[in-house]
């Protein structure tokens, strides 16, 4: 059972990411130049992202159906690849500032990206598990990467303990499903008996495991602490990459296994409502911007889960019409990744050495001290809030539309209520930046420097946010195709 060449083509992005990560580890003892590793990681991330085009050209199942290269996996490969690319750019100045080693950081980042790539294309549950572990274990270490900072270690430990617990759930779920259906291949489960209790239990376990990864309530408690403690570029990465990949796997499982859809509508409904409220109500009282954004990312996971509820309820009645609901998830994750990357990058820069300036008060009067930064952060916040001419607006719009399409009016209304709660705390940040006077100490301090690479990240994310807010067609036409999942 040797892999065919075409199989290798179909996992080429993961191979590129993985080998560049290994290369970075190997060269670490020999190369002293820190910038070398930034370039290496950049090339690796770019190469892997480019390779996903190549994999997509050779679309189809690989390794006897363990993975699948299709438009869906292509989309997520591009997404996580771009996220990795931007995090590499944003992390360089941070690592410099905090005097942290470069090579390992980039290696872990690339390993995690490879794992997320596997998650996006896995067609088989154990393969998905390997992808999940690859990305999770790298993530645990990345969270504690600033090992001298107490908070960072705390973050890592919490993430590790709770994360492994969730992974165990996931694995147990796989075992139960295997016991029920006799297979771990997703496409072979199509004919599974939906009434089997074992199958339901297995899927519930998987839902819990992945619910933890995407920070869905009631499995979200770790998020604020981990996000706050981790180095900010890592937080940016967490909120954009692994979350998208976990959602990708969740979507693939619950879209491919028809047995999964019947039963799960209410589970998603409940998860969505709980998650939205947990995130938004938690964010209301935050005074630390990093923590506020962490809670907001819980809330946004809730919005995505609304689309999941729409997918599952739609699949019951009219699976042909479910395409817009899938597209809503994909578009939302894209818009969300862009925005969160940009926002956390700003937080990372503004934090200063040791990340001391994370409080909202540190942003008072920012519009006068650094108008461009304030304007950028406002764009991200308005996109999170879902105001028009930003990608976030269309993301929310498509989710609303998916929910209304599936006749989930109450869910749509609850989501609307949550959007308004969300508006309050996002606006509070804008108010602080634009309508408060800076403290005397902040007004006299020199403006925080923004190195070129960070500016590139901000420019890409801000322009992307506006671009997809004006021309959503550019990506929608692609993700609306009927054979999104390769069949």
């Amino acid at each position: 059972m040797f892999p065919r060449t075409i199989d290798l083509y179909r996992v080429l992005p993961e191979l590129v990411w993985g080998s560049f990560g290994t290369l970075a580890m190997l060269l670490q003892p020999f190369v002293r130049n820190r910038n070398f590793f930034t370039v290496l990681a950049f090339v690796g991330a770019l190469g892997g992202t480019g390779a996903s085009c190549f994999a997509f050209r050779n679309a189809g199942p690989g390794f006897y159906g363990l993975v699948q290269s299709d438009p869906f996996s292509y989309f997520f490969h591009l997404l996580v690849g771009t996220v990795a690319l931007l995090v590499v750019l944003a992390a360089g100045p941070y690592l410099d500032r905090e005097r942290l080693p470069f090579a390992e950081f980039y290696a872990l980042l690339l390993f995690a990206t490879a794992g997320m790539g596997v998650l996006a294309s896995a067609q088989e549950l154990l393969t998905a598990f390997i992808g999940l572990e690859m990305s999770s274990i790298s993530s645990y270490i990345l969270a504690g990467y600033h090992r001298d900072a107490l908070k960072s270690s705390e973050s890592s430990l919490k993430y590790f303990l709770l994360g492994s617990f969730a992974t165990a759930f996931f694995l147990y779920g796989i075992a139960l499903i295997y016991g029920s259906t006799g297979t771990t291949m997703l496409d072979k489960m199509v004919s599974a008996d939906p009434s089997s209790t074992l199958l339901k239990l297995g899927l519930a376990m998987i839902l819990i495991g992945l619910g933890f990864k995407v920070a869905a309530a009631p499995f979200q408690v770790w998020t604020p602490d981990v996000y706050e403690g981790a180095p900010t570029p890592v937080t940016a990465f967490f909120s954009a990459g692994p979350k998208a990949a976990a959602f990708a796997l969740l979507l693939r499982i619950f879209a491919t296994v028809p047995a999964a859809t019947h039963f799960w509508f209410w589970a998603f409904w409940l998860l969505a409502v709980l998650t939205m409220f947990a995130g938004n109500l938690g964010a209301l009282v935050q005074t630390n911007l990093k923590r506020l954004l962490a809670y907001s990312s819980i809330a946004h996971a809730g919005y995505v889960l609304v689309a999941f509820a729409a997918v599952t309820s739609m699949a019951q009645v009219d699976s042909a019409n479910a395409a817009p609901a899938y597209a809503a998830v994909l578009f939302y994750l894209l818009s969300y990744a862009l925005v969160k990357l940009g926002a956390f990058t700003i937080v990372s820069q503004m934090g200063g050495a040791g990340e001391k300036h994370l409080s909202l008060d540190d942003y008072a009067g920012l519009s006068q001290r650094q108008p461009v930064v304030a304007a950028m952060l406002s764009i991200y916040l308005l996109s999170l809030l879902g105001l028009p001419v930003t990608a976030g607006f269309f993301g929310k719009f498509y989710i609303f539309k998916a929910a209304v399409n599936s006749h989930l009016l109450w869910l749509a209304v609850l989501m609307a209520v949550n959007s308004i709660i969300g508006a309050y705390y996002y606006l509070r940040v804008i108010v602080v930046m634009y309508m408060r006077e800076p403290s005397t100490e902040a007004a006299t301090a020199a403006p925080v420097g923004f190195p070129l690479t960070v500016n590139v990240v901000l420019a890409v994310t801000a322009i992307g946010t506006i671009f997809f807010g004006v021309m959503p067609n550019a990506v929608l036409n692609f993700i609306l195709q009927p054979n999104l999942l390769g069949h």
Binding site: P324, L387, K401, V413, I420, A423, Y424, N477
Partner: protein
């Protein structure tokens, strides 16, 4: 169908181009920033005057339409169009913007560039709202205009500005996000966001909404508009926003933004949900009448001059809502007229209050008194504007209120008699406050030496006064143009709408095709009533 030219697009985006140009100027070039902003807004106003030339007076339906594909799925189009009602609201917007810019000439001293950029962006959003014929596009502009307005209040406002700005945004968003759900629901039922297309299908009977659904949709839209108007009891954001906003912000808020709510009712609630509109009319009218009387009573006891004007808006806008939900051509036109008249006269009142504030830095009526002696010119203008606001014949407020009461009376005499109370009360609070501010003895020494109106202020006030007077005596100029559009809405909201009246071809609604004889008749009635 689409008559070439891109006048409407120009009207929407020219201020945005101007705002971009402003951004290129240096921050401390205050003089040139002001001049450029003024030029942009005046040119925009001149552009908008072309509407008077290009929009035919007696042809129903939308004119100067522009249609371009924007988003494939769901099909969202960039669809613009104008009719007799929206045309005048656009004119009102483009007229008040240069006035606001002139009014902020000296009172805005910090972050000048941002201020004028925001003012121009606000104009973009508002004009866009009035010209959009695609529900989605409409919603987009509706949301876009929030941010500049919130910043205008929050950055350049008075003491409690931040509170007022946040309250304003949250209230508006609460309504509009439900409207978004409503829009999507309507899309699900119709398969399009295109307003004329939906109207066409409603008119031809091709689309029938279940009464329950129709009511929910009606409420989703109505709530958003009612918050904006604001209809009692959703008005509590308005006094805060008005009192805290800078003068220009108040002028735009009262003059134009409130009208977006009533415009939305005319353009969306009535034509799209005729049955629900009729079922809700009694309740809406009751709220409107409560608003008229409540607003007037609260205004009467206000110690704060700006708050007094703000509550008078609640009262006056109540008239507009009442006129709309009386479903009579005359009251509908009266509502449109009152929207314009209120924009001018309340705008002028806010300008005057702002001028007083520039001199004494307070809105408290008790701080004034006897001002007619040191500033006779300002006092004269104030009296003139107050009289127009309370509906003195020959001035603009009279026409609107009179037409509304006339039309409402045809529908239900009780509504009209209750609403008429508001006319009396408005005379009370305006004249009483005028007396306390301008007559009597001077009780505060600093009031003896306040300067009278400067040349710039006189220029602003004379312009406003001329328009006020012209609208009072030349009302036929406006009603001649709003007549057909109002009749179209009346026909669309008629529960017994004659389906066969729909035009067999063309995408624009022809449901309200008014026979020429009827146009003459209506015009004759109008002439007679004056």
């Amino acid at each position: 169908m689409l008559s070439g030219g891109h006048l409407l697009s120009v009207l929407i985006f020219f201020p945005a181009v101007g705002a971009l140009a402003l951004l290129l100027l240096r921050d401390d070039d205050h003089k040139y920033i002001r001049i450029l902003a003024l030029i942009v807004s005046v040119v925009e106003f001149l552009f908008s005057l072309l509407l008077l030339r290009d929009v035919p007076t007696a042809v129903p339906g939308y004119h100067l339409e522009e249609l371009a594909k924007w988003i494939n799925d769901p099909p969202i189009n960039y669809h613009l169009g104008v009719d007799g009602i929206s045309m005048f609201l656009v004119l009102l917007t483009t007229f008040l913007t240069p006035i606001s810019i002139l009014a902020s000439w000296q009172s805005i001293g910090r972050r000048v560039k941002e201020f004028f950029v925001m003012l121009l962006m606000l104009e973009v959003g508002v004009v866009g709202v009035f010209l959009s014929l695609d529900l989605f596009l409409f919603f987009l502009f509706w949301e876009v205009m929030l941010i500049p307005m919130a910043l205008l209040i929050g950055i350049w406002g008075h003491e409690r500005r931040v509170y007022a700005a946040v309250k304003f945004v949250l209230y508006t968003m609460a309504g509009s996000i439900l409207m978004l759900v409503g829009i999507i629901w309507l899309y699900n039922a119709t398969g399009t966001f295109d307003l004329p297309a939906i109207q066409q299908r409603l008119a031809s009977g091709g689309l029938v909404l279940v009464p329950g659904t129709e009511m929910v949709l009606f409420l989703a839209f109505f709530l958003a508009f009612a918050i904006k108007v604001p209809l009692f009891p959703l008005h509590t954001w308005l006094p805060d926003a008005h009192v805290e906003a800078p003068t220009a912000g108040s002028v735009m808020l009262a003059g134009v933004l409130l009208k977006m709510g009533t415009y939305g009712m005319i353009r969306f609630c009535l034509p799209l949900f005729p049955q629900a509109s009729h079922r809700a009319a009694g309740w809406v009218a009751a709220l409107a009448i409560i608003g008229i009387i409540y607003g007037a009573l609260v205004a009467m006891v206000q110690p704060n001059l700006k708050k007094l004007v703000a509550y008078s808006s609640v009262s006056h806008l109540g008239f507009v809502v009442l006129g709309i939900f009386a479903f009579q051509n005359i009251s509908m036109q009266g509502a449109v007229y009152q929207m314009l008249a209120h924009g001018i006269s309340t705008g002028a009142l806010f300008l005057l209050v702002g001028m007083l504030h520039d001199r004494r830095h307070t809105f408290e009526i008790s701080e004034y008194g006897g001002l007619a002696t040191p500033m006779p010119k300002l006092a004269a203008f104030f009296l003139f504007v107050a009289l127009s606001s309370l509906g003195l014949p020959m001035l603009n407020g009279f026409v609107g209120e009179y037409l509304i009461l006339l039309g409402t009376y045809q529908r239900h005499w009780g509504w009209a008699s209750w609403a008429a109370l508001g006319v009396i009360l408005s005379a009370c609070y305006l004249l009483w406050s005028y007396q306390r501010v301008f007559f009597g003895d001077i009780r505060h020494e600093e009031n003896r030496t306040v300067p009278d109106a400067s040349a710039r202020e006189k220029g602003i006030l004379v312009t406003m006064a001329v328009v006020t007077l012209w609208m009072g005596i030349g009302s036929i100029f406006i009603t001649r143009r709003t007549d057909v559009a109002a009749q179209t809405v009346i026909d669309q909201v008629d529960p017994r709408r004659p389906y066969e009246a729909a035009a067999p071809n063309g995408t624009a609604p022809r449901a309200g095709t008014v026979p020429a004889s009827r146009v003459k008749l209506i015009t004759a009635e109008r002439l007679g009533t004056r």
